[in-house]
Symmetry: C2
């Protein structure tokens, strides 16, 4: 396979323009590297649908609310390249920070109402950083389609709103969460868990399913059932557990339609998030 | 001349794609209509540089901080079309509000530090509305170049930052302010002035020049000289008069380099703005 790595805005524009001229459609998979089979699912979907598959690898400082989290974020570039090569990626765009932010960033993209709850409430500025860098990547790459995982449900909703509300001519393709055998959602952060935390972390998915099974009793009862599951794990501290409207991402009280059930927990020093979509009847939508 | 008018996102994308396929470059002149020779200068510049000249006409509710100002804003669509036709415009994009904002706007573009002073201080949300609609227009039209007047200096600076900081592949072309014989900057709002207000309004430009001539004495003295000019006009009320860094748009005290001198005044019920760029030595940059 011929995997090409480019580092600059000029190079990525040139490479995309070349692919377009040869009639290829462009599929973009934006990542922060530390690639795992969750990213693999995004890449495979992009590979099936696109003439030219581009994976961007950029740990975006603007979306980290804590400097130590930014610095500790896993960087595994040689392995990431191999991962992309094995999956038939055409182009890796891996700019450095000065290429993406050559000066002070003065202009931001923000989705205030979609950022009020869930992770947005606990990570001030996070989604502004995400939306801003994604707008930059969209303008640099100008893909036909961009692929995002459902694991980051709030990010996905914000990026879908970004494309709709700012009229980007790009289709956002959501890709289902990939899970370990015990239900734990794949995440680059899982590598930080010690064996005990790793075992406890599986309770997050069990808690989401417990909430879903109790939706018939109302949102409060469903949340209580979920939190009871998590409280059995001494290494898990709940940051939030919410049942929200899948469109507005605002918490619901009565369950009248589909909902998203979402959680963030700390397993030791590691923050984990997960969510499921539910039709709101107690029966999951696959 | 063949002037085509389109109303929808789908039509404008189709028309642009057609122009591109026939090898034309695209020049966009975003306006709110009520076209005058200030817009004429933008269109003439676009006509000279572009294969396909597009004028958008859209009175953007998102950028009005006051509902009455939005409602009173001049709408002269038939005359605007004639104006465009005479100047060889290829395409007028005139969407209605529901086409541009089909649902609640959830995603915004903002330039907080560039909006702190000057008009941004007195019109909360104004530049967020401008930056957001311009991002939408850029994504709908995807022009090679977009033309903006220097009269709206803060808007121009914010849009230049928007393009740089969000990596839009678009060149922003600034076009000098067009003035009446007595120096009054052309504006759609001038039509609201009664004869007495119209005569007084010329003092704004004289005040800008008075400030420039006194820059050697420092920013405070220069502002005093300018305000003395404006105080001779009983129908004029000063909203702000500032001497700012042309990059950051933050007020300067000592004059060390180029500055922008900017004013907003009320002439009766009509708000007028104007500005000049100065090398900071007392000698104007043409």
């Amino acid at each position: 396979m011929n995997l090409r790595v480019v580092r600059t805005a000029r190079e990525i524009r040139g490479a995309v323009s070349q692919a377009r001229q040869s009639g290829q459609s462009i599929g973009l998979v934006p990542t922060m590297g530390a690639l795992h089979q969750g990213h693999g699912a995004l890449i495979e979907r992009a590979r099936a649908e696109s003439g030219c598959v581009i994976v961007s690898i950029f740990v975006n400082p603007l979306q980290f609310d804590r400097k130590d989290d930014y610095e500790r974020y896993a960087r595994t570039f040689p392995a990431d390249l191999e991962f992309c090569r094995e999956r038939g990626v055409d182009l890796v765009f891996a700019p450095d920070v000065a290429e993406v932010y050559p000066g002070d960033q003065r202009v931001y993209v923000d989705a205030p109402s979609l950022s009020e709850h869930l992770c947005g409430k606990y990570r001030p500025g996070h989604f502004r950083g995400v939306a801003t860098v994604v707008a930059k990547l969209f303008n640099l790459v100008q893909p036909d389609r961009a692929y995002f995982g459902e694991k980051d449900a709030q990010q996905l909703a914000i990026i879908q709103a970004l494309v709709t509300d700012l009229n980007f001519p790009i289709v956002i393709v959501p890709v289902p969460t990939v899970r370990e055998h015990d239900g734990l959602a794949l995440s680059s952060r899982n590598a930080r868990l010690n064996p005990k935390e790793r075992r406890s972390a599986a309770a997050v998915y069990r808690a989401l399913r417990a909430a879903e099974n109790n939706l018939g009793a109302g949102a409060s009862a469903a949340k209580e059932a979920a939190i009871a599951v998590l409280q059995q794990e001494p290494t898990i501290r709940v940051e939030y557990f919410e049942i929200v409207d899948p469109e507005t991402l605002h918490p619901v009280e009565g369950i009248r339609g589909p909902v998203r059930i979402a959680a963030a927990v700390w397993a030791g020093e590691t923050r984990l998030i997960d969510n499921i979509y539910s039709a709101g009847t107690g029966r999951p939508i696959p």
